[in-house]
């Protein structure tokens, strides 16, 4: 029943959320747009930044480079991830749970750490490069540039494809496969004509994720790209670069970047709309044991892929225990804990920073995501529909752009947030919240409305229903999602990189700086600490998540 008092609790909540979005997302983005058309010296209206970007190949090429990287990464990730998901769901695999854990684990570190590790392995002075050289005399082609970026990002992002598609395959009803076999379609043909189309919505969703992550990633090209620059790198360099900075130009590039990602997002949405249907399996597919030869290849493929993907991380762990010289720059014979000693003695505050900043961001994200998903699912109106739309915006904003927008917006005397921990928390919230909202919405949509109505008919008001019934029912799913968010928060780099100050440095930034300072031992130790955090989180996740289902 509609009541006379329009301004009840929920309207106030909606307005509060809207204000938060306007202040911390819309305003910073508008700031970027306005800065992009201003002259850096005179402050007059100008299009010269855009002209500069499109007229100089040095800049313009970064755009095509980024696009190429993202496109090929998508392609390779799909080719790697979809068969893996298929094998995983259709066949008996030994150590299934472990394999899934390892797949997820391999995606759970910042790509730049992977890039750094691959350089250690396959770079000019890499161990494998040297080993091959000494054994065969052959110099393997360098992994710097486009190929290296592609290698690193694909191995980092195929697990996303695996998770999405695997989720969809779980919902394919056995009878659909039996029906197609009954009509004479089986094996490879069935894979392409039945299984793939059935999983199309998830494949498209995964493609979007991979695209956005790879086009926005800037640690990898910085680390392994050498001459091959992508636009997040340019943004970063124009912003904090050694050769004089130009904030307005950086803003202009950011605007272009948003337009590109927005375009891809809209194309994806269009395709998703065309392919939208929902599945829910009544009879799950029974995993069968493959014939010996096939079985062998399935295991080889699964574990082989994971091994390659995890190799760099493991190698860093190994390096972290190696002895180094006193300044930490050169590895020496033998093992020692000196890197860790240094990390814990000198950089203890980075660990503390990581826990507090990411923890605070996580709490905010969860509270807001529950509220927003409740508003958009259960209290549908114009205001909340607006919030729903706004909540999707961060999907298309690369991390570096979020970082810059924050600085541009909050570098004034009214809200002097630059350099504080608050601005990092806000940036993390803005970046991560759409994913948590989406998983909360998914969970909430599965709770039938009649549950709420039952609570109401039993005398519970709307707020009480939310607290006593809805949230407890969502809890499992949300908690599992929160752990995943936690992992992405502690491995966040692209926005924090622009926002951190000496006091708010987090682990991942410390890794980056240690690498940049060529203190490899410490970098490895720090990276290992991040990995340990991740592994603990994942184990915790497996404990709370009912079926190991992951919602990103």
């Amino acid at each position: 029943m509609k009541k006379k008092a329009k301004f009840d609790f929920w309207v106030i909540a909606s307005l509060a959320v809207l204000v938060l979005y306007l202040l911390f997302m819309v305003y910073p983005l508008l700031k970027i747009v306005s800065q992009s058309v201003l002259d850096e010296k005179t402050g007059k209206l100008t299009m010269k930044h855009f002209v500069k970007f499109f007229s100089q190949p040095y800049y313009f090429r970064t755009l095509t480079n980024s696009f190429k990287v993202a496109l090929f990464t998508c392609l390779i990730s799909l080719v790697l991830g979809i068969p893996l998901a298929y094998f995983y769901n259709m066949y008996e695999i030994k150590g299934r749970k472990l394999l899934q854990m390892l797949i997820i684990l391999s995606s759970m570190s910042a790509p730049f750490i992977g890039a750094y590790a691959w350089v250690q392995l396959l770079g000019r002075a890499g161990v494998i490069t040297k080993l091959i050289k000494s054994l065969t005399g052959v110099t393997i082609p360098p992994i710097y540039g486009f190929n290296g970026i592609l290698l690193v990002l694909s191995l980092k992002l195929f697990p996303l494809v695996f998770m999405y598609v695997s989720g969809a395959m779980k919902n394919v009803d056995k009878s659909l496969l039996e029906a197609s076999a009954n009509m004479g379609v089986s094996g490879v043909k069935r894979f392409f004509t039945v299984v793939i189309p059935l999983c199309m919505p998830s494949i498209l969703a995964a493609t979007l994720m991979v695209f956005m992550r790879s086009i926005a990633d800037f640690g990898t090209p910085l680390m392994i790209g050498e001459g091959y620059t992508t636009f997040p790198v340019i943004i970063y360099k124009e912003y904090v670069g050694e050769m004089g900075t130009n904030h307005n130009f950086a803003a202009a590039i950011a605007v272009i970047a948003i337009l590109i990602t927005l375009m891809f997002f809209l194309v994806q949405r269009y395709l998703t709309k065309k392919n939208s249907f929902s599945m829910s399996a009544m009879n799950h597919v029974e995993r069968k044991k493959a014939k010996p030869v096939t079985n062998f290849f399935i295991h080889l493929y699964g574990y082989g892929l994971v091994a390659v993907a995890l190799l760099p991380q493991l190698y860093l762990v190994y390096l972290s225990f190696r002895k180094t010289n006193s300044s930490g720059e050169v590895f020496q014979q033998g093992f020692s804990l000196q890197s860790y000693q240094h990390v814990f003695k000198k950089m203890g505050n980075t660990i503390w920073n990581t826990v507090t900043i990411c923890g605070l961001a996580l709490i905010l994200i969860i509270v807001l995501a529950i509220l927003i998903s409740y508003l958009t699912v259960r209290r549908r109106n114009v205001l909340n529909a607006t919030i729903d739309t706004l909540s999707m915006v961060p999907y298309v904003i690369p991390g570096a752009v979020v970082g810059i927008s924050m600085i541009l917006a909050f570098n004034n005397k009214y809200m002097p947030l630059v350099g504080t921990a608050a601005i990092m928390v806000i940036a993390m919230c803005v970046r991560r919240i759409p994913y948590t909202i989406r998983s909360s919405v998914a969970i909430l949509s599965q709770i039938p409305l009649s549950i709420d109505e039952a609570a109401e008919s039993l005398g519970a008001g709307k707020f009480k229903t939310l607290v006593k019934v809805t949230i407890p029912m969502m809890f499992n799913g949300i908690f599992a999602g929160a752990i995943m968010s936690w992992v992405t928060l502690i491995t966040e780099l692209s926005s924090s990189m622009l926002l951190y100050s000496r006091k708010t440095q987090t682990l991942n930034i410390a890794v980056y700086k240690a690498v940049a300072n060529a203190t490899d031992g410490r970098a490895c130790a720090l990276a290992t600490v991040v990995s340990v955090f991740t592994v603990i989180s994942l184990i915790l996740f497996n404990k709370v998540s009912k079926d190991g289902e992951i919602m990103m």
Binding site: M1, P448, S450, E456, S457, G459, A460, G461, K468
Partner: protein
């Protein structure tokens, strides 16, 4: 405790679509009242208006003397049972049943006493500390019912509570529901599309179609004297046949297509030569080979032996088909293709206007 529900001129609109144009209804205190109709007829919509989950676009709803139009669902003191049970999956059976009592802020010992009482009543006390997902559908529905009843509501609302159960459980549960309702004497509004279920549990039934109540009556009245063709065909099975009224003096007859004439002493408002629609239920059509005074004629197409009864499908001389139900005989079933003569039970059949809108039987 028992409360009368009065609905005056209710209107329900979804945007421009009018789901219920104008509906009035009175449900007696303690009555088991059922809203019956095909899907989309507005029965659930009406129930949800009573519950407070749907907005009311017009009209007045009363519980007793109390106008409830603008009352929040949580304040209406209703017990509601949902089609999908809507059991809280994160709470044990006991906590589910106690949920409403806690909201009433009753003292702890009273909550426990009432919870125990209703769990025992619904025979779910042995599962008190289990989570609902461990229970079967029937048990879950018992929990839902116990939960709705525990708050001792003024009105019990049930929205197709048995449609998710298998056939055998459905029969068992409807008996349980009827018994409990009888014992507690609570005013109950029940929604279903299953006419047999409606007949089994209800004191009175409102048959709805397209948002309009077609007829309100006891199960017996609905079956034997349907108000129009829709009710006649929706409740039970029937054969519809065209006929013409013949009035000569005080005597009123109906004449079927083949000239078979039946004398009727309960027709009203008819004129000589008026075209009518006659509803003859399968058991009101009797195979009678010895008939002297004229009969319908036809050919047996096929028969189905169902133990107690035997069903025949007959093609009448005018080409239409009719269904006959007879108590099974010890001698042979009539062979397919056999020509048969049939008479109708004049006191039982119903006669409607040609458009089927109105009954012509007293």
């Amino acid at each position: 405790m028992d409360v009368r529900i009065t609905i005056n001129d209710a209107v329900k609109k979804y945007g421009d679509f009018v789901a219920i144009p104008d509906l009035s209804l009175e449900i007696q205190p303690g009555e088991f009242f059922t809203l019956l109709g095909p899907s989309g007829c507005g029965k659930t919509t009406l129930l949800r208006m009573i519950a407070g989950f749907n907005s009311i676009e017009g009209g007045k709803f009363y519980f007793g003397e109390r106008l409830i139009n603008d009352l929040d669902p949580s304040k209406r003191n209703i017990g509601m049972v949902f089609q999908n049970y809507a059991i809280f999956p994160h709470l044990t059976v006991r906590k589910n049943v106690a949920f409403g009592l806690k909201n009433k802020k009753l003292p702890k010992d009273q909550i426990k006493a009432k919870t125990d009482e209703f769990m025992a009543l619904m025979k779910i006390d042995e599962y008190a500390d289990r989570l609902p997902e461990k229970l079967s559908g029937g048990q879950q529905q018992r929990v839902a019912l116990a939960r709705a009843l525990a708050i001792e509501p003024e009105v019990l609302l049930m929205d197709e509570p048995l449609s998710n159960l298998d056939a055998k459980l459905r029969v068992e549960m409807r008996t349980a529901i009827k018994e409990i309702q009888n014992r507690l004497g609570i005013t109950t509004v029940y929604v279903t599309h299953d006419q047999e279920e409606a007949m089994a549990v209800s004191d009175r039934i409102a048959v709805m179609n397209l948002g309009v109540i077609q007829q309100i009556g006891t199960p017996k009245a609905l079956y034997q004297r349907p108000a129009n063709r829709f009710v006649a065909t929706f409740i039970g099975r029937t054969n519809l046949m065209d006929a013409i009224v013949k009035v000569s003096g005080a005597e009123k007859c109906i004449v079927f297509n083949n000239g078979y004439t039946v004398k009727m002493d309960n027709l009203t408002d008819v004129t000589d030569g008026q075209k009518v629609c006659v509803s003859v239920r399968p058991e009101e059509l009797v195979i009678d080979t010895t008939s002297e005074g004229g009969s319908l004629t036809g050919k047996v197409l096929y028969s189905t032996f169902l133990g107690l009864n035997t069903h025949y499908v007959v093609e009448l001389s005018d080409g239409t088909r009719a269904e006959i139900i007879q108590e099974s005989q010890i001698d042979d079933i009539i062979e397919n293709g056999t020509e048969v003569k049939m008479v109708v039970k004049a006191e039982k059949i119903n006669v409607f206007t040609e458009d089927g809108e109105k009954t012509l039987v007293k």
